[in-house]
Symmetry: D3
Subunit: 140 residues, 6 copies
């Protein structure tokens, strides 16, 4: 069993590795109204869950981007997690693939809205999206 | 642009590779009421989307298991896709990780229900689930 | 403004016309625990809303079957409303079309689960589903 | 079985008939990031599904407006589909009826939010909404 | 059985007690497009349901804030109902507790988005949120 | 900041107080596949969140029953939480009120399905549901 300090330290390390400074900014923004929620994000979400060694960080972000795309009601978090996915080595093209696949399981509106959010992220980071979502066009 | 026959052939190949005979059984079961839906599963869902080369099949299944866990209303499809995830090389432990992570993004009830479904799948296949979901117990 | 008696009478008439005796059975089943909910079904849902003259009953049932298919979490009500759709003159083939279309807007799992429910209804009523969902196969 | 060119041609014809130029604009907007998604909208969503002869276009739009209202997480697509519903001959009053009915099946917040979107559409098109949603007020 | 006038009067009284003038403004805003929806809000939602004596108004608002937080797709209504919760005597700290608890049942994104909305409400009303969501920090 | 042992102890105490032995049975059932999920239920869900002093346990259960009713996809957890609500002093009649109110915010199908689950719970416990959901019938 981890001590509380270990959970927190592990969470902060994972948060930093995955989100840069963005995750800490979310945690800090909660100080005025729900600081314990910030603690849970660090110690529980990132310290207990996301930092577990049983699954690589790229796969974790594919899973989270998929879920947030499919649920459809958390565009702010989806945008953040597309950033985090890029941070841990997912490519823009792979993220687009995950979003496209959700069209099959959650419908085209979810996919269209997530694509619009992904475009914003890619533009903010200057990531080229050319060729993303176009695997089979060559020779088409 | 693929011909219709190419889409279908590609879809059937992917369906077979991922689902064994289960996918074709779903398609066949639709003949009495909505055969075109079966065609769309083969040619669109598997032929156009899931068979795209831009993302590996393991990642695709992590994404689908994540989404079905988080949406919570498609237990039959979730069960099938946990089977398919095992078929393409995801381990039981990795699948459990994806499901656990959804607790953060979609809540504990979604995770608890998906874990119950995963247990059924693992039992049906004789996959050991010992140690899944327990990455940090050693020395705890 | 309708009187309460008019609302109730109108609701019961619409309930009977759309559901046969099934709707009244639902209302009666609530007597032991939430009789006012039964009253609301009659006077509000059927008396105020569903009986409005501004939209024909077939279109209303297409809308309800579509919504229940897309939300995915109310299979009991979806089954009832497929029955009611048949009662007001929607054909099995048209109901299948509505369900298939939801694949685009809510994903294939919702559509697959609704098709399974529709099949049950069609079997219970001896409605032929042959040809439903197959508009373009001729000459295919 | 349709050829790929037939699917595409049929999809474009239906897209144009239902959406005017709006649908093609959506497809074009995807060129930079996910052009295949645009193709799927044309060939699958509109070519395979929405253009099927088994259900009239008005009923299809009632179904889609109902589902998007009830799911609640796709306001951009809901707005577009209210436009498309008007394009294929649904009246403002009928669209309001569908949205009102969703109050029964998906709750008042979904209905209130969809009404706000419908109002925007009606204003943009100069469609009179007077009398919509008021079937029984005369003599009330 | 209440008369229609009694339902309406009771609904208006509850609406006023819970929402101040905000609820009537919502009802008035519907006059141009769906006045009957406004009537249903008054007579059904507030007159029949919310005004029932079997549960105190504070508990009713905890329930509504919880549900709107967990469903995640109705931020406008969530904001209104946080206002109404304060109006009927729920404290800012209690409202934050309900929202935090939804993290367990509906996931952190729902909770984070609802917290952002609660912050807006608290600022608009000059309610101090200091200490909300921090029950155990003293001496921690 | 609590120590890990304090979180666990507090969680177990709250779990026991609210669920009797049911919560521990859920935790025990996870040992074969995801024991850490059981730990999170104890230490995070019950130890960190539900046991917080800022909101009384009755209100917490009203909130949870409301959310699970409105989300609609977790009937197993809804059943458990109706039991827990009774355990902490919510009455059958109050629980029915919360469920009825969700009809306004999440639609009648959610309410009907939750009422059916509540009926099961009340029967299992021999709780009289007579009079629940009927506040205004006297003299009606």
């Amino acid at each position: 069993m981890s001590t509380e300090a270990e959970r927190r330290q592990r969470g902060l390390a994972t948060l930093s590795a995955m989100t840069g400074t963005a995750g800490e900014a979310v945690v800090a923004s909660l100080q005025d109204i729900a600081p314990d929620l910030g603690e849970w994000l660090v110690s529980f979400a990132y310290g207990d869950v996301v930092s577990r060694p049983g699954l690589d960080k790229r796969s974790r972000q594919f899973a989270t981007v998929a879920a947030l795309t499919a649920m459809g009601h958390a565009p702010v978090q989806l945008k953040s997690h597309i950033h985090y996915a890029l941070n841990v080595g997912c490519t823009a093209a792979e993220i687009v693939e995950v979003i496209l696949q959700m069209g099959v399981y959650a419908g085209f509106p979810c996919t269209l809205n997530a694509i619009a959010i992904a475009r914003e992220v890619f533009r903010e980071r200057g990531v080229s999206a050319v060729g993303a979502g176009t695997d089979r066009k060559t020779g088409g």
